[in-house]
Symmetry: C2
Subunit: 153 residues, 2 copies
Amino acid sequence: MRTRGSQCWRGKFQGGGYRFTKPRELILGVLAKSKKHLSAEDIFFSVHKIYSNIGLTTVYRNLELLVDMGTVSKFNFGDGKANYELSESESGAEHHHHLVCQKCQKVIDYADFMDAEKEFLSKIEKGLSKKYKFQIQDHIIHFYGICGQCQSK
Amino acid sequence: MRTRGSQCWRGKFQGGGYRFTKPRELILGVLAKSKKHLSAEDIFFSVHKIYSNIGLTTVYRNLELLVDMGTVSKFNFGDGKANYELSESESGAEHHHHLVCQKCQKVIDYADFMDAEKEFLSKIEKGLSKKYKFQIQDHIIHFYGICGQCQSK
DNA sequence: CTCCTTATTGATAATGATTGTCATTATCAA
DNA sequence: TTGATAATGACAATCATTATCAATAAGGAG
């Protein structure tokens, strides 16, 4: 279940006719360690510390590729920049969703009530994909509101 | 329940110490007629047809205000631009969510299974807001996948 | 109705995130 | 080891959005 070590990633790339390069290894390494959504720039800076040759363009290019490969998930929380994280199937991370504070833009991950969610999704996914002929691959649930800190101001 | 006519909107603005201006009237008019998520540029062009003085900056400024007032909802579907629509409480529109095609970026609204959703939300909202001290105001559910047209290509 | 304060506007420039270009470099199959 | 070409990085370009600022207009006071 666990995908460990860069050799495993090598195969993913080569299987798709892609090459396994230093930037790709390091970008995935950063994502794997962080386990929380990072912006392209965050990733750029992290990689830059250990590989100062890296270009921001390369980070964007590879994130796009990784999203296409299904290895990485891309989110938009409404602050103008995209965030990326290893997709759950890759990271073994818990399935989770987000609470987005509309004052300070903070994002809280939560992974509670997944039993209730599973029950809910099982009820509707089939119906939706039939009615709209839409092949569902993924879903997100975002709650918007005010976080504790912002409430007490 | 129905909020009809621009005089009703006038009050909303004036109540908040804002003025009721032509651009604001027209922007709301476009949103009210369209009933589907429009980008700032979409709105700009629509208003421009009947009021060619309008500036794109003004559209952005007023959309921001309207979002703050809770009159308009802002979405990010991941295509780089934000989309706006009258919030449900204003438009009387059905509560709905979105199916986002990852190939062609098309967005399908759906309003099915709302009973199941209500049941699900009632189970988890209270728990979430307690556990994370997060005051929930709104939520979105997006399903990502491939739409019918793109499947048959 | 007129005046006056000031919220609002629109043109413009500026920003910030992301994408395109292209010559150079490096991967990996043969 | 070598060669075809995928991938890179520097740079310029684009796209959405935001800041600036002088000119305009909404609406309350008189």
